[in-house]
């Protein structure tokens, strides 16, 4: 039973999160002891993967210096990048493996911890079958590690259940882009944004989640471009939006179909592009017949004239880029939503030319690379489908096994947690994933983890999820292993190793290979370095959609990144995917795909009349396991607050900073109010980076998109009330 062995307070006292404020030796020490080298690498917090130089002294990261020559961000950084170095030399860092005791954890040697891990995995697989063990990976891992996770699960453990935290991030976009274009990558490099005449941003808080992208949008605006923004909240870039569409959460699909309706009604579609480069237009055109601006306005809460203006502006501008992220995708119809935006882009011919394209904005550090090489439940390296016989044969050959030995696709992340809760999956090995904070319905997740017969975690801090573990293997930070990542642009980048893992902590890749050896599978994991893993990844991806064969670490350094696909060593890489409007489908055509409306998995109604939506703040990253441990970032936004419009607040007698209880069908939590006019009056917003009683995901529900399996974080139904008193432990 993988229940935490001590109370949350006791574990937090020992393992944090404690905020780290100062570089090693303190501020006064720095000028006297300058760094002895600068390491050119990339930020670990978010899919933009900004270039940064880490200052290193005596195997410690002691600060940062902007890297102005790196072309994507030219030295620019957000506060997470500026302060990221403080995750090194952190007092909470796990320096040894930990074994659970009756009242906490004790330090253990590697042999004991690994032998125990392997013994338990083997016992459970012998008793319940291979698929009773699941593996969780994470997209923030470098690509070599994420490749290794997929191979380890399928070859090392022989289980079909491997998935990753990118299931909460990029999968709706991935499914939609594969349907439309047969490839899961941003079709354009970011420079095309600066060349656009109109930029349509829907469901993306660019100022806070992708701050560097603001620079590209502002440069377009300097050229005279117009900005259209659709969001239930006025996010920071809204101050420069030309048209703001304040849509109701979960009604994106209606809005987008309504915009296409206006385009077609007014004859603004690009007939030539549609005829030459697409299929399926007629059916989509018919599907938006009923979506007239008036009825769309009633459903979305956006005025009909604004819908018309936005549609006409997007259609008539000579060039344009449509951008989206989790706001559009974190819905039980996330795939439909993205397809509707792609349909709008295709109908207006804004694909395959300079300054044109629709693009997903990848959220996680290595959120792109982490989903390309086989840690998704249905994919093999190179974005190959696990069900494709030719793909199985190619990868099996590279791995030295028979295709028959490769398991079939397994469950996605939420489905794995459901299966753990149902008792079908008995053991879990988890790294780079903090599902207690990041999966919906946190109480359900906690119950599920408590039922595991064995839970092993590889982690550098004792995350809220690792608190449940039987054994915690002290792993490594991004800056402690060399390898590659792929940015949201599709640009493969070189992560330099800055320091060794401290104490007895070990590189993640070594830990995984060591477990594989102890499982008797050592011959499949003979690597002496991550470079050898990368070279195998290149072969495994060769000929696939995400073809890395022509990419080498040296080529990345020389070109400051290489865009995939890059099929051979002389190939310069592919910054834009669909030049001339040619997609990756065999016929080269882009596909219109019909979208159909369906209700949210947790619709608002009389008992729960207010929309709840969740998201990020600029100073925190994902589950906060790292950024809640960095003092300057924590101080910037110390605790989650409920954003409420004054009209809604007034009805409940709530003023700014009051304690407010937010209740859904799952749970209730009490947080302080942030009363602001920058959110729809029928909607409240809570950032999701916190754990326990501050966790927004206590409230969210487990409905997933049937195709992408992404949970519906962006739409829940709730009610709010002024709290009688502060929650326990609060003043």
């Amino acid at each position: 039973m993988a229940k935490p062995p001590a109370s949350l307070a006791e574990l937090q006292e020992l393992y944090g999160p404690h905020p780290n404020y100062t570089p090693i030796g303190g501020w006064q020490d720095l000028p006297r002891n300058p760094a002895d080298r600068l390491v050119k690498t990339h930020c670990c917090f978010c899919g933009q993967q900004c270039g940064i130089q880490l200052k290193v002294r005596d195997n410690h990261v002691v600060g940062f210096e902007p890297w102005e020559e790196f072309p994507f961000n030219k030295g620019k950084l957000c506060p997470k990048g500026v302060k990221r170095y403080l995750q090194s030399n952190h007092p909470d860092r796990l320096l040894d493996p930990l074994m659970r005791t009756s009242n906490g954890f004790r330090k253990a040697g590697w042999d004991e911890a690994l032998d125990f891990t392997v013994r338990r995995l083997q016992e459970i697989q012998a008793k319940y079958g291979k698929d009773s063990v699941a593996v969780f990976g994470g997209a923030s891992l470098i690509s070599e590690k994420s490749y290794l996770m997929g191979k380890f699960a399928r070859v090392g453990l022989g289980t079909r259940h491997i998935d990753y935290n990118g299931r909460l991030c990029m999968v709706s976009a991935g499914v939609a882009y594969k349907l439309a274009f047969h490839v899961d990558r941003s079709p354009i490099q970011w420079e095309e944004i600066a060349r656009a005449d109109v930029i349509f941003v829907i469901g993306a808080n660019i100022g806070e989640c992708y701050p560097i992208t603001t620079d590209y949008i502002w440069r377009a605006k300097d050229r005279g471009a117009k900005l259209i923004l659709a969001d239930p909240r006025m996010t920071p870039i809204s101050r420069n939006a030309d048209i703001y569409l304040p849509l109701r959460p979960g009604t994106d699909l209606v809005l987008l179909m309504g915009m296409l309706h206006v385009v077609l009604r007014d004859g603004l579609e690009d007939r030539t592009f549609i005829a030459e480069h697409t299929t399926g237009f007629e059916a989509v055109a018919e599907s938006v017949n009923e979506y007239d601006p008036r009825s769309v306005a009633e459903r979305t809460g956006v005025p009909p004239e604004t819908i018309e203006r936005a549609a006409r502006l997007f259609a008539t501008a000579p060039t344009g880029v449509a951008m989206h992220s989790r706001g559009l995708e974190h819905q039980s119809k996330g795939v439909e939503n993205v397809l509707a935006l792609i349909n709008l882009t295709l109908a207006t011919g804004k694909i395959g030319r300079p300054g044109c394209g629709c693009t997903m904005i990848t959220g996680q550090g290595n959120g792109q690379g982490g989903r390309e090489h086989g840690q998704k439940c249905d994919q093999l390296p190179g974005q190959r489908q696990l069900t494709d016989p030719a793909a199985r044969e190619h990868v099996a050959k590279v791995w030295g096994i028979s295709p028959d030995e490769l398991p079939q696709p397994g469950y996605s992340a939420q489905e794995i947690m459901n299966a753990i809760h149902a008792g079908e999956i008995k053991a879990l090995l988890c790294t780079c994933f903090n599902p207690v904070v990041s999966l919906p319905n946190a109480e359900f997740t906690r119950e599920a983890l408590n039922k595991l017969e064995f839970f092993g975690s590889i982690d550098f801090f004792l995350s809220e999820t690792a608190q449940h573990a039987d054994v915690v293997l002290a792993g490594s930070l991004q800056e402690e292993e060399e390898g590659v990542v792929c940015s949201g642009e599709g640009r493969v980048l070189h992560i330099q190793k800055a320091v060794d893992p401290p104490g007895n902590a070990r590189p993640d890749s070594e830990i995984i290979c060591d477990i594989a050896r102890r499982l008797g599978k050592g011959k499949y994991f003979p690597y002496r370095s991550t470079r050898e893993i990368f070279d195998e990844l290149r072969e495994a991806s060769r000929g696939g959609v995400a073809d890395y064969y022509g990419i080498t670490w040296e080529k990345i350094d020389k070109q400051m990144g290489v865009f995939w696909p890059c099929p051979d060593l002389d190939h310069p890489g592919t910054p834009n995917l669909f030049d001339g409007g040619v997609s990756f489908h065999h016929d080269g055509k882009c596909r219109f795909v019909v979208t159909e409306w369906r209700e949210s998995g947790d619709p608002v109604g009389p008992d729960f009349p207010v929309y709840l939506t969740t998201g990020r703040v600029v100073s925190q990253f994902l589950s906060g396991a790292q950024t809640r441990r960095i003092g300057a970032l924590l101080d910037q936004y110390p605790e989650p607050r409920v954003e409420i419009h004054p009209r809604l607040a007034e009805r409940h007698g709530i003023v700014d900073r009051d304690w407010v209880t937010v209740t859904t069908k799952r749970a209730e939590i009490t947080l302080r109010a942030l009363v602001v006019k920058t959110i729809r009056p029928d909607t409240v917003f809570i950032p999701y980076h916190w754990a326990g009683r501050k966790s927004a995901n206590m409230l969210t529900h487990r409905t997933i998109d049937p195709r992408s399996k992404i949970p519906e974080f962006k739409v829940s139904a709730c009610r709010i009330a002024k709290a009688g008193r502060a929650p326990e432990g609060e003043a």
Partner: protein, 202 residues
């Protein structure tokens, strides 16, 4: 850096505070940020603004200093107080029209933005303008600003009857006036007896 000037464009600020955090990280600042950052009116707007010192041609902070501790260099940069002279009296803090100087208690001294002398003197941009992701703080050749930005730079700020000329430029709409005032009265017409031309008329 020759030909480079500092430009503040609050309309481009996204409130991320990278400037504030990066300023702390400068070797010479040792954890103390010299950036002035504010939410303008959070209940009503998302708008934020980040400022560095404006580096006035005739710095009020230096003029009111009883200890003659605040110096302006030949490069036009108004420095932090000289440690041996500063008596931490806060005259400068009270007098600065922009609210820039701060007394740092642990130093018992006024410190302020010196536009990263340690960086600009070796050919680097100031730290805040290097990291700012949204062009709200920028250190650029003036030719580049004229060619690329849709706004125009202004460095005359009207405060009461005085015009303060500053080294740092504020970006204003291209069609706007050549100086900035925050006082509505400066834009009014108050009858024929008023000798001064209004800002709005310029």
């Amino acid at each position: 850096m020759f030909g480079y000037e500092f430009y503040v464009d609050t309309s481009r600020c996204i409130g991320c505070q990278a400037c504030l955090k990066a300023c702390e990280e400068c070797d010479t600042h040792r954890g103390v940020s010299m950036i002035n950052f504010d939410y303008l009116d959070r209940p009503n707007t998302i708008e934020t603004a980040a400022f560095v010192c404006f580096h006035c041609e005739e710095p009020t902070c230096a003029m009111v200093c009883p200890a003659d501790a605040i110096k302006k260099g030949e490069d036009g940069i108004v420095q932090s107080s000289l440690k041996p002279r500063c008596i931490a009296c806060s005259n400068c803090v009270l007098a600065c029209p922009f609210g820039i100087p701060k007394i740092v208690p642990q130093y018992e001294q006024m410190v302020k933005c010196d536009m990263c002398y340690d960086r600009t003197s070796v050919g680097k941009k100031p730290m805040c303008a290097t990291v700012c992701p949204s062009q709200a703080l920028a250190y650029l050749p003036s030719s580049e600003v004229a060619a690329l930005r849709r706004e125009k730079p202004v460095n005359q700020i009207r405060i009461g009857n005085e015009i303060v000329r500053t080294k740092v430029f504020m970006m204003v709409p291209r069609e706007g006036a050549d100086e900035i005032s925050l006082d509505a009265a400066d834009y009014m017409w108050e009858g024929d007896g008023d000798e001064t031309r209004t800002l709005a008329a310029r």
